[in-house]
């Protein structure tokens, strides 16, 4: 089912200016995304994982052109869309839709569900009156909502149902690509499973392409054909999901996978956990060279001097790449690794990101979907 490359991003960079606090002027920027390339094939799911603030959402918003790029290029179906202006973006917006994390925050509580799902029709001046109602009810049926609840308000739906409303709205204009930003993170496991099944059924039925963002490694593993792991605005490892989970190459990937609590006590007892010290450094002054070096259990002097390239390792398939000078060998025990990098290069003082830097989504959620 998967075929041609539908999205190709090359060296995408997105910096946000840091708001100056009080009298102090600042020319600092947040390095939210710093040179990321990706390819998504028609009909497949690309998973993007990483810890909070690593740039997943920002990258997705650059790809969907909800943000202007600081640098780099994004192609959709072979056309460069990175410099398109608002008016010409309409078609791209129709074909690439987003689903958001918060099934509460992203739906206006004062509007009826039918009219929320019908938004995309209104914005693009398509289907009105009875025709619009018919198509909205069709969407409701498709995502497992009762079409008779057309006139209800969001508050009358449970969390899982609200997420279905978000899905219905995203699919209303029959997009080719759906970007799901933490679509199940706010849901309980039993409901999460319902929504994940729905997304997978719809993908098959409508031949959709997904970019699926989550910090939950087991959810991403479950839905993705290929996975990209990010750290501080960069891709550290990328490849077929089976590969990455079975044979992580990047020490950060190894540590992360070892730290996920699994619902299986016997496995947990056997497993060697690697607990990383310290916090994620500030994205305003990210560490030089390999950005992971202050926390890496394998760090050596070279790691703080020379940035590792994102390339495939000997013995790995060509599309399994990792950015590390000293990648994990098969069977290597990361828990026993000791860094030889000088001590003073291995402390990170967490630096508070200035006010405002982490704001600015909730308003977007309503607006950006069309």
């Amino acid at each position: 089912m998967s075929g041609d490359v539908i999205i190709r991003a090359t060296d995408v960079v997105k910096h946000f200016p840091v708001q100056s606090s009080g009298l102090r002027r600042s020319r600092d920027v947040v390095h939210a995304v710093d040179g990321v390339s990706l390819e998504v094939k028609q009909g497949e799911t690309l998973g993007i994982v990483g810890e909070t603030g690593c740039g997943k959402s920002t990258l997705a918003r650059c790809v969907a052109r909800l943000y202007d790029l600081t640098a780099g290029r994004v192609e959709f179906e072979g056309h460069d869309i990175s410099r398109l202006r608002t008016r010409r973006l309409g078609k791209v917006r129709r074909e690439m839709q987003m689903i958001f994390q918060d099934p509460y925050g992203s739906l206006n509580p004062k509007r009826r569900v039918g009219s929320i799902i019908g938004d995309p029709f209104a914005i693009h001046g398509m289907a009105s009156g009875q025709e619009r109602k018919r198509r909205v009810q069709e969407m409701m049926e498709l995502v497992g909502l009762n079409p008779e609840h057309y006139n209800r308000f969001p508050a009358e739906f449970s969390g899982g149902q609200r997420q279905r409303i978000g899905v219905a709205r995203a699919l209303a204009l029959k997009p080719k690509v759906v970007i799901c930003d933490e679509p199940v993170s706010a849901l309980d496991v039993s409901i999460q499973a319902q929504v994940l099944n729905l997304l997978s059924d719809l993908q098959k039925q409508l031949n959709l392409t997904y970019i699926f963002i989550s910090h939950d490694l087991s959810v991403v593993r479950h839905v993705s054909d290929r996975v990209m792991l990010m750290y501080l605005g960069k891709v550290v490892e990328s490849g077929p999901s089976g590969q990455i989970y079975a044979r992580p190459r990047h020490p950060y990937a190894g540590a992360l996978l070892s730290a996920v609590p699994l619902p299986d006590p016997k496995m947990m007892r056997q497993r060697q956990r690697v607990i990383l010290a310290g916090d994620i450094p500030s994205p305003i002054h990210p560490p030089a060279a390999c950005r992971f070096h202050p926390r890496c259990p394998k760090a050596q002097a070279r790691c703080a001097e020379e940035e590792p390239a994102l390339v495939a390792r000997l013995g790995d398939p060509a599309d399994h790449t990792a950015a590390c000078h000293f990648p994990l060998a098969e069977g290597e025990n990361l828990a026993e690794a000791r860094p030889t990098l000088a001590e003073e290069l291995r402390v990170v003082e967490p630096e508070a990101v200035p006010d405002g830097a982490e704001l600015g989504y909730d308003g977007l959620a309503e607006r950006s979907n069309p």
Binding site: E51, T52, S158, G160, Q161, D188, V189, S190, I191, Q192, A193, Q194, L196, N197, S200, H215, L217, S218, V219, R221, H222, V223, G242, Y245, A255, L256, A259, V260, P261, L262, P263, D264, P265, K266, M268, R273, I275, L276, A277, G278, D279, I280, V347, E349, P350, A352
Partner: protein
């Protein structure tokens, strides 16, 4: 004797829409040095249960008993309960800012807490203790950071500072309500390790409240599974994971995207949790249960031992001994029942 023994706790909230039956006859106990995991979907009554025994639910109607070191917390005078909170029972919450005041330095807040419960201790000694506690929970350069305000800490550091505060007076019991839900995997691992170390060092008992079965697998000795304000199943950890009886426990396990599966469909629990104002008749799980029988709609089952093991109980009408339970599973889930 158990350190904490809660018996038949009932909590209802009168609201404009009617009586919310948040907790409907919950019993559990925690032994010294052990960890009790409480797991269940949001709204199942996990937080209300523990907050009520610590006197933190306002405007609620409360029934039942909660014996802590032999005394019933629910019958205690306000002052007495206040003294126990912080000194004998430490609490940590999902949102660290609910216990850390934004306007005061982190260190000062810990010092104040220590001095509030121990008048004899000097300011200087209390401050030293605060630094020591911050070091214990893994705050880098604690002698300097002790002077920071909460907003100067990262999310993970705030969570750790809250743990430091909860542990400041060496409590016998630590109640951790979703302590890592807002945290990233690597920070979560750090926080769980800190709790585990403190527990080892001081013999603290822990109540770990979470909706994450992975966290339960990692930390709990015993587990209570809650649904709609009641205990559905209670047992030692391994029985809950490998030998569960209750269909709700089974449903939770089956919903998880386990590692190593290859994009198979998940098996969700259908439907949604009930309204706590108009609860279903009989077994409260029956509208979502794939095993539902006529009897389930009419009568509510009580917790009964599974295979005569007094420490493993389940509130369900399916057979509690013999092959009947397993056969039911095969009927409902087919081949997949034997995992």
């Amino acid at each position: 004797m158990a350190l904490l023994e809660v018996k038949n706790l009932k909590v209802t909230f009168p609201t404009d829409d009617g009586l919310v039956q948040a907790v409907r006859g919950v019993s559990f106990s925690v032994d010294r040095g052990k960890t009790l995991g409480i797991v269940g979907e949001s709204g199942s009554g996990k937080s209300v249960s523990t907050q009520t025994i610590m006197g933190l639910t306002r405007g609620a109607q409360v029934e039942g008993e909660a014996f802590f070191q032999g005394e019933d917390l629910l019958k205690m005078a306000r002052r007495q309960l206040q003294a126990i909170r912080g000194r004998d029972v430490g609490m940590i919450f999902q949102d660290p800012l609910s216990s850390l005041h934004p306007y005061y330095r982190v260190g000062w807040q810990i010092v104040e807490l220590i001095r509030a419960h121990d008048r004899a201790i000097s300011k200087k000694a209390a401050r030293q203790r605060a630094v020591e506690l911050l070091r214990l929970v893994g705050i880098p350069r604690p002698d300097v950071r002790v002077n920071d305000y909460p907003h100067q800490f990262s999310g993970g550091m705030r969570q750790r500072a809250m743990i430091a505060m909860a542990m400041a007076l060496n409590p016998a019991l630590l109640i951790a309500d979703e302590p890592t839900t807002a945290l990233d995997v690597t920070v979560q691992a750090q926080v769980l390790r800190v709790i585990g170390r403190l527990q080892e060092e001081f013999g603290t008992a822990v109540i770990m409240i979470t909706h994450d079965l992975g966290v339960i697998a990692e930390t709990a000795d015993d587990v209570v599974v809650m649904y709609a304000g009641a205990v559905m199943e209670a047992a030692d950890r391994d029985s809950i994971f490998y030998d569960h009886h209750h269909p709700y426990t089974e449903g939770l396990m089956r919903s998880l995207p386990a590692y190593g599966d290859d994009r198979q469909r998940l098996t969700p629990i259908g439907g949604t949790p009930p309204s706590l104002i108009t609860l279903p008749s009989g077994c409260k799980f029956h509208p979502r249960c794939p095993y539902v029988m006529d009897r389930c709609r009419a009568e509510e089952p009580e917790l009964e031992p599974v295979e005569q093991r007094y420490w493993h109980t389940s509130a369900c009408w399916l057979p509690h001994s013999g092959p009947g339970r397993q056969e039911a599973s095969e009927r409902v889930y087919g081949e997949a029942a034997t995992r």
